[in-house]
């Protein structure tokens, strides 16, 4: 990378489409989430600025550090979560707005980077010196192992279809051959991807590691102020990035004309509403039920999808 590209890289990471852009839009989408949930529950719901007020308030509060907690782990975990979410956002959106700048293998890197917020949650929970944090961290660990398998299989199905591990090539393939979800294996992989998205976002029925009513927030139980705000921000950013990735991987290409961009936004909104409706209408599963769901159903469906894709279906 030449020296002249460094300011652009910093701009991509911090402003657009990285931290600032994804954070602001992602927070606004969490308002969409809360509003749709409220409508499902026959309520009015919060005003549109509610997520910004929440984050602003949390940033203004004092952060308590539990006595004896390892500082690097406890304070580094929220930063790691936001870093992971930011880098995921940059890779996804750069592949969208400047396909020439994307690199070979970015889909594989994405799978790893999008797991960073969950790993940060494990580190934060384990270093918070609270039984709630420890239980939450161990549950999160089991969940990560279970849902990452399905997530990887869904992405591999897409890779087999496109014959490439580059997001921009997937894009080009769909522009030439129609959306991947149009094929049988693509459709199965889409279902797997949405189930894993639900778990990656920590939404019901898979919010097992946080479980407000039994673990009082699990890994987040000891976080207050800025640390909590960063975790919420990372979650909000993933809430924009993962559905965007879902649309880009499965639901067809987007080109630089108004109809295509509007279509992209409609598809994005549709994926979001599906995720939110699943969240609003399901109760939390037990850990063993969720693990059985991911290992014996989602992973199997993912394997079938990858197999069908190899056969060209």
């Amino acid at each position: 990378m030449s020296v002249s590209a460094i300011p652009l890289a910093i701009f991509y990471t911090l402003v657009f489409p990285g931290l600032l852009f994804t954070g602001l839009i992602g927070l606004w989408l969490t308002w969409v989430d809360r509003k749709v949930t409220a409508i499902v529950q026959s309520r009015v719901g919060p005003p549109w600025f509610q997520p910004y007020a929440d984050i602003g308030k949390l940033l203004g509060k004092r952060m308590t550090i539990p006595r004896g907690a390892p500082l690097l782990g406890f304070l580094g975990a929220p930063v790691l979560a936001v870093t992971g979410a930011t880098l995921t956002a940059v890779i996804v959106f750069v592949a969208l707005i400047r396909p020439s700048a994307s690199f070979v293998g970015d889909l594989i890197v994405l799978v790893y980077l999008s797991a960073l917020p969950a790993i940060a949650l494990i580190i934060g929970g384990a270093s918070s010196r609270s039984p709630f944090g420890a239980i939450g961290a161990s549950r999160e660990m089991s969940m990560v192992l279970a849902y990452e398998a399905g997530f990887l299989l869904a992405v591999i199905t897409v890779m087999i279809h496109a014959g490439s591990v580059r997001l921009a090539d997937v894009h080009a393939y769909q522009a030439a051959h129609g959306s991947i979800a149009g094929s049988l294996s693509g459709l199965l992989a889409l279902v797997v991807f949405i189930a894993c998205t639900q778990a990656k976002l920590g939404f019901l029925p898979f919010d097992i590691s946080e479980a407000d009513t039994e673990l009082i927030g699990g890994p987040l139980a000891e976080y207050s102020g800025a640390g909590l705000a960063l975790f919420k921000l990372a979650r909000a950013m993933l809430f924009l990035v993962l559905p965007t990735l879902c649309v880009l991987l499965f639901l067809g290409p987007v080109t630089a004309n108004v109809a295509s961009i509007l279509g992209f936004l409609v598809k994005l909104l549709a994926v979001l509403v599906v995720v939110i409706l699943i969240k609003a209408t399901h109760a939390r599963l037990r850990l063993d039920q969720a693990l059985r769901f991911f290992w014996t159903r989602i992973a199997v469906v993912g394997l079938v999808a990858a197999g069908l894709a190899l056969l060209g279906l």
Binding site: R34, A38, Q41, S42, R43, V44, G45, P46, P47, F49, Q50, Y52, A53, D54, I55, G56, K57, L59, G60, K61, R62, M63, T64, F132, D212, T213, I216, G217, L220, A221, E222, Y223, S224, G225, L228
Partner: protein, 150 residues
């Protein structure tokens, strides 16, 4: 008003503490959290750990047993924070004002921002009280003190 104050007023997460209440006020607090009253409209949310809380909603006359725990809860809540006494009991002890088993009111243990009297207070009164503690609505009644004639 600066931005952080505005955020605090628009997003208040409450933690519900039962300090020896008969459960009447607790049920009214739960009523205030139902979809019928929908406190999320005002940015009010119930949280489950004092670390996330902005306001402690305390019910009950504060029994001697719960006093220590209440102080620890108060310390665990990060600044800035509000303490709201819900019901007649935190407001000077209620019918337990001279009982040996209670401290006799929340004001003797914690710095209280606002009392919401009533046995139990209506959910509307609780919402109004929280809004008043934030300075969003005007005060309707003021405290009166009087001494018994001996």
């Amino acid at each position: 008003m600066n931005a952080l104050d505005w955020c605090f007023k628009k997003s208040i997460w409450v933690y519900h503490v039962n300090a020896g209440a008969c459960n009447g006020c607790d049920i009214e607090i739960l009523n205030a959290l139902t979809p019928y009253y929908d406190v999320e409209r005002f940015g009010i949310r119930l949280v489950h750990t004092p670390r996330h809380a902005d306001a402690l909603l305390v019910t009950g006359p504060v029994t001697r047993q719960v006093r220590e725990r209440l102080l620890r809860l108060y310390d665990a809540t990060p600044e800035p924070k509000l303490v709201i006494g819900v019901g007649s009991c935190p407001t000077g002890g209620g019918i337990w004002h001279n009982s040996y088993a209670t401290v006799g009111g929340l004001g003797k243990v914690l710095p209280v921002n606002i009392y919401i009297p009533g046995c139990p207070p209506r959910p509307e009164a609780i919402l109004y009280g929280v809004a008043q503690a934030l300075g969003l609505v005007p005060q309707q009644v003021s405290p009166q003190e009087y001494a018994e004639v001996t």
